[in-house]
Each structure stands twice: as structure tokens, then as C-alpha cells.
């Protein structure tokens, strides 16, 4: 049974005169982006069928991701959760032979796979943290400013300020503030991953995608990243793919369970783990398979 996040829990769109209920414009959103109705999911995925060459990786996915919540994608390997995550900032474009055959993904109501969408702008707003931490072999400072320099920000004082803010935001500042000029490759695995998070938040995206961000980290570093996710949820919409069910249970608000390319169940995290509606979900979260 597929539980689709419905708009039932949200206030229905106003039918009165439009100016009366103009939603607040999100800062940094160009006016061309239709402002979402309150309570409408930020990301709406509808009937998505996705293929790698001839093999179908995602089947009929329909799911909404709410703003400023942590949404976890769980499921056994090969279930399509990472593929779906990479659809959200179109990183799958880099892989040859991938295509969306049917369905749509809308962010702010805009179908991101239409030809009039600039993928560069999309990725500025939808940041990503990868499974294998990938700091660039530059200094810590240069890693954080990389995305800002791409946008043409050259002002040194401003860059320094953002570096500090981002590193504080990623709970890394105290550990690295004395060696910002040193290579990021000298950091520990956990620090590298938090640096990648700092690098992602430095460009102020709205959504941060995390693809198994802790799979290569030890428990202490994992705990720090999870704590960080809790801190970030107030400012960003976070989607996290994880193999670790405890992690999903600990740090997400909503959880989607995928199996063989299908969305099996999507509900509040508490419900998924304590009262799953679907027997497959129950089997997975209780550790009987996967």
C-alpha cells in the first residue's frame, strides 16, 4: 500500500482573490519561480519512471518532499533510492543512457526536466553531499569559497565571513579555524564530510541532498554529522539516503521506504518504524531482510 503524502494535512489553496493570500516570497527565489502555496510540498515527484539504458530503476514514484523537514530514503541496495536522490539535482545527466520516460519532478512547481530549466541554476539551489567525501585537493578556505567564486564573489571580507559562517554551520569551525590555509586532504574522514556539508551550505541552497553521508564514517563522526543534520533542518530542506535504519529513525521527520524501484511506503518516521502499514516495510525495518 502506497502512502502518498497528500495535501490533506495542509490548508487547502485559497480560492479567494489572489492578492489577499499571496504567499511569502522565499528569499533568493527569482520572481519567475511561482511562489508555492503554503503547505504545498517543495518537491513534488509524480509518476516517475526512470531508466538506465534498458533497465528500469524507478517505477511510478509519487512523493512530495516538505520544506524544512528531513526526509529519509531507506531501502536495500539497488532499490533506487540514490537514483531518485540524484534526479532531484539532475546529477543523473552525467551518466550516459539515463532517461526519464514518464512523470515529472517539480520544485516550486517548476518541472526541472523541461528544456527551459538551467541545470546550473538548479544545482545552485539543490546542493549535494556525496557518499564518498570529496573535498577538493585545495585549502580548506578554497574548498568553502569554491562555489562562491563560481558565482563571481571576489570580495575577500565577504568570502571570509561566509567561510566562517559555513564552517560554524557545519560544526567544524573550532577544529579548523587555525589551519584554513592547509589542504583539506589532511582532515580526518569525518571532518572531510563535514567540510563537504559546509561547502554545500556556503552557496545557500534551499535543498541539501545527502547520499549516504555517513557510510564511510566511524560512529563518533557519524554522530557528529547526525547532530549537524538536526541543526540544519531549521534552515534547509534535507533529503538523506541511508542504509542505516537507526540513522533514519534518529534524524528524519519523514521516511520513504523503497524496494525494487518502487516506493513501498512513505509516512512520518515514527509511523514507519513503530507502526508500518506495509508488511514489506515492517520486514525491512525490523531487520528481517535487506
Amino acid at each position: 500500500m502506497v502512502t502518498v503524502p497528500s495535501r490533506l494535512d495542509s490548508t487547502p489553496p485559497a480560492s479567494g482573490p489572489a492578492p489577499a493570500r499571496r504567499p511569502t516570497v522565499v528569499e533568493g527565489v527569482p520572481p519567475s519561480v511561482p511562489a508555492p502555496a503554503a503547505g504545498q510540498p517543495l518537491v513534488e515527484i509524480e509518476h516517475l519512471d526512470f531508466f538506465y539504458g534498458a533497465s528500469q530503476a524507478l517505477r511510478e514514484i509519487t512523493l512530495g518532499i516538505e520544506r524544512q523537514k528531513v526526509t529519509a530514503f531507506i531501502g536495500p541496495s539497488g532499490c533506487g533510492k540514490s537514483t531518485l536522490l540524484r534526479c532531484l539535482n539532475r546529477m543523473n545527466d552525467l551518466i550516459e543512457g539515463t532517461r526519464i520516460v514518464r512523470g515529472s519532478i517539480r520544485i516550486h512547481g517548476v518541472d526541472i526536466n523541461q528544456p527551459d530549466v538551467d541545470v546550473i541554476e538548479l544545482r545552485k539551489r539543490v546542493g549535494m553531499v556525496f557518499q564518498k567525501s570529496n573535498p577538493f585537493p585545495k585549502s580548506i578556505h578554497e574548498n568553502i569559497t569554491y562555489g562562491l567564486r563560481l558565482q563571481g564573489i571576489r570580495d575577500k571580507a565577504k568570502l571570509d565571513e561566509i567561510v566562517e559562517r559555513s564552517l560554524r554551520g557545519a560544526a567544524l569551525w573550532d577544529e579548523v579555524k587555525d589551519r584554513l590555509g592547509e589542504s583539506a586532504m589532511g582532515l580526518s574522514g569525518g571532518q572531510q564530510q563535514r567540510l563537504c556539508i559546509a561547502r554545500a551550505i556556503a552557496v545557500e541552497p534551499e535543498i541539501i541532498l545527502m547520499d549516504e553521508p555517513c557510510s564511510a564514517l566511524d560512529p563518533v563522526a557519524t554522530a557528529k554529522v547526525e547532530e549537524l543534520i538536526q541543526d540544519l533542518r531549521s534552515r534547509f530542506t534535507i533529503v538523506i539516503v541511508t542504509h542505516n535504519m537507526q540513522q533514519a529513525a534518529r534524524c528524519s521527520d519523514r521516511t520513504a521506504f523503497f524496494y525494487l524501484g518502487k516506493l513501498i511506503e512513505y509516512a512520518d518516521t515514527r509511523d514507519i518504524f513503530t507502526n508500518p502499514a506495509n508488511p514489506q516495510t515492517e520486514a525491512y525495518v525490523s531487520g528481517r531482510f535487506g
Binding site: 546529477m91 550516459e96 544545482r123 549535494m128 556525496f130 570529496n134 585537493p137 567564486r149 563537504c196
Partner: protein, 346 residues
């Protein structure tokens, strides 16, 4: 000491005899190569340094390194054997009218130095490597980062591999037909640059592609995910890390470009030229002048003039200077590479 007949005592059999025979064959091969290399190198260094260095201050034969080649005149004057370069000999004859009709044996290029050849070779190497690196890196970026694998790209790669196997004399003739005659550049630096550049291009492209492939895909993905364009990603986050590998290939290219005679003999090299490359009237003439070059000079002095004690000095001296210059250029790019490597480590 172990007791006799313990279980691990040696048992000579076929496999063990073969093992030691094979080991000796491999070892002999390695030593033979070392011996050949050392023989060539020592011969040139020992005989060449006799020309380049001298026993009295400044211990370097500056004339050999700074003057142009001249003919050597050997004659007897007032019962004494004398040796003079061309200019010195003419001045001598003017100063001493009695010597005007002295019978002298002349040996071409055996006096003076090889400075124009050094200058020409350095210019050829710098220019052709600049062209080869620019074209080669652009092609490698296209092949590795932009092009989608398909039949056409496989065909391009095959063509590049085949190009690497083309003999250098064929490149020389191609350059002659293309640049010297068809483009009307005549025998010139420019024609030599392009001919040599095309000759090393396959090596540069292949090595640059390998260097680009060695940059982890995560750096590209990380950059793109921050909203970089493909070119921004390549320029800021791929090329800097691939540069040490690209420079390694260029070191091999330098040795080849500096050393090849065949490609430049039709396109850029003069047997002898009075003016130095920068002694031109208009700046544009710089590109359209032929130059003297070390490998071609070695070829000329070793094959075009009779062998004797006087030319041997020039032959070995030129070969020695040539080796040193190639080593210097290669060493400087190795230094540059190591500095870049230390800067970007992952």
C-alpha cells in the same frame, strides 16, 4: 648448523636449474643495457667535455658556447704550425702581407662555436612544445570530458595511435609539403614548430588523456553539484590536478622534439646562417626565418665533411652540449611538475 638430510635440503632438478638460468638471462640483459648506455654517455661526456671545458679560468670554453661556427685554417708560418678561425685568419693575412698567399688547409665548421645552433634548438623546442601542449590538451579535454563515446571517437583515437607510429621523416616531408610549400612559409621557425608539434601531438594527447582520467570523478561531481559549468569544473577542478601528468608527457616530448633531425631538415634548419634568430628587421620576420639547430649541426659536421682530428672536437662538443641542454629543459619541467604535485595531493 642443521643435521644432514633434513626435509628442506636443496634438491637440484630441472625447475631449479631453469630458475637460475632465467635469472641470469634477465640480469645480463639489464646489465647489457646499462653498459651500452654508459658507453655512449661516457664517450660523449669524456670527449665532449674536452671541447667544452678548459684547464684555465673560466674553465668553460666560452668561445665554443657563444660564437658562430667558422672554418678552421691550418698552415705553417715561420716554421711554426698555426691554427686559425676564418676571421682571425683573414685579419692575420691583412696584417702580414707576406702571408697573403700562404698555403692553408681549411676545415669547414671546425672553429668557432655552436651558439646559433643552441639558440635555434631552444627556440624550436619552446615553440613546438607550446603548440603541441595547447592543441594536445584541448584535444584530450574534448575526448575525455566532452565527447560521447561512439564510433567517431573510437576512429579519432585510432587515428591518434597511428599517428604516433609514423616515422619522423614522413612528418618532415608532410611539413615540407604543407607548411613550407602550400602555406608558403618557406624554411622557417614557424614551419618547424608546427611540424615538430604534430610529431609529438599523439604522445601529448594520449598522456594528457591518461592524466585527466586519473583525476577522481568525485572532484567533477562535487564541482558540478555546486552549480559549476562543465568548463568551470575542468578549468578549476580538473586541469590543475592533471597538469603534473601532462607535464610528464611533455618531458618525453621535449627530448623528442629537441633530438629529431628528420622533421626539421626540410622545414626549419639551415646548414649555416650568419645572423642570429633575433637579428631581424621586422618582428614578423622572426617567425619566417630558418635557424641552425644542434641535431642538424651534428648531422652536418659528422656526415658532410671529411673526418679528421679537427672536426672531431666539434662533433663531440656539440653532442655533449646537446645532451646537457635536453637534460636542463627536462629537469626544469620535472621541477615544475614536482612543485605542482606537492601542491595538489589527494
Amino acid at each position: 648448523m642443521n643435521p644432514p638430510d633434513h626435509p628442506f635440503s636443496p634438491r637440484p632438478d630441472g625447475a631449479r636449474r631453469l630458475e637460475s638460468a632465467v635469472f641470469w638471462i634477465f640480469r645480463a640483459a639489464a646489465y647489457l643495457i646499462l653498459a651500452c648506455g654508459a658507453a655512449v654517455f661516457l664517450d660523449i661526456v669524456v670527449k665532449g667535455s674536452a671541447t667544452v671545458f678548459q684547464s684555465k679560468a673560466p674553465f668553460v670554453n666560452t668561445a665554443f658556447l657563444t660564437q658562430a661556427p667558422e672554418s678552421l685554417y691550418v698552415f705553417e708560418w715561420e716554421g711554426q704550425p698555426r691554427r686559425m678561425g676564418d676571421r682571425e685568419f683573414r685579419a692575420f693575412k691583412e696584417a702580414t702581407p707576406a702571408a697573403a698567399n700562404v698555403k692553408a688547409e681549411s676545415y669547414v665548421y671546425s672553429s668557432g662555436g655552436i651558439f646559433p645552433c643552441i639558440a635555434g634548438t631552444v627556440l624550436l623546442v619552446v615553440g613546438s612544445m607550446t603548440i603541441a601542449l595547447f592543441l594536445g590538451v584541448c584535444a584530450a579535454i574534448y575526448l575525455n570530458e566532452y565527447a560521447r563515446d561512439g564510433r567517431f571517437i573510437r576512429f579519432v583515437r585510432l587515428a591518434i595511435l597511428n599517428l604516433a607510429g609514423v616515422p619522423s621523416i614522413v612528418f618532415g616531408l608532410f611539413g615540407f609539403g604543407m607548411f613550407v610549400i602550400f602555406f608558403g612559409w618557406n624554411v622557417s621557425l614557424l614551419a618547424g614548430w608546427f611540424t615538430l608539434a604534430f610529431m609529438v601531438l599523439p604522445v601529448v594527447i594520449t598522456a594528457s588523456e591518461e592524466a585527466l582520467k586519473a583525476v577522481p570523478i568525485g572532484f567533477r561531481a562535487g564541482s558540478l553539484a555546486l552549480g559549476a559549468t562543465k568548463w568551470q569544473t575542468i578549468w578549476r577542478n580538473v586541469l590543475p590536478y592533471a597538469l603534473p601528468g601532462i607535464l610528464t608527457s611533455s618531458i618525453l616530448g621535449i627530448a623528442r622534439v629537441a633530438g629529431e633531425t628528420a622533421p626539421i631538415m626540410f622545414t626549419a634548419a639551415y646548414v649555416v646562417r650568419d645572423k642570429l634568430p633575433w637579428e631581424v628587421e621586422r618582428a614578423v620576420d622572426f617567425l619566417f626565418q630558418g635557424v641552425m639547430a644542434l641535431p642538424y649541426h651534428i648531422y652536418v659536421v659528422s656526415s658532410k665533411i671529411p673526418q679528421n682530428e679537427f672536426t672531431e672536437r666539434v662533433q663531440y662538443g656539440t653532442a655533449f652540449v646537446f645532451l646537457v641542454i635536453v637534460a636542463l629543459i627536462a629537469a626544469s619541467s620535472i621541477l615544475l611538475r614536482n612543485r605542482l604535485r606537492a601542491r595538489y595531493k589527494w
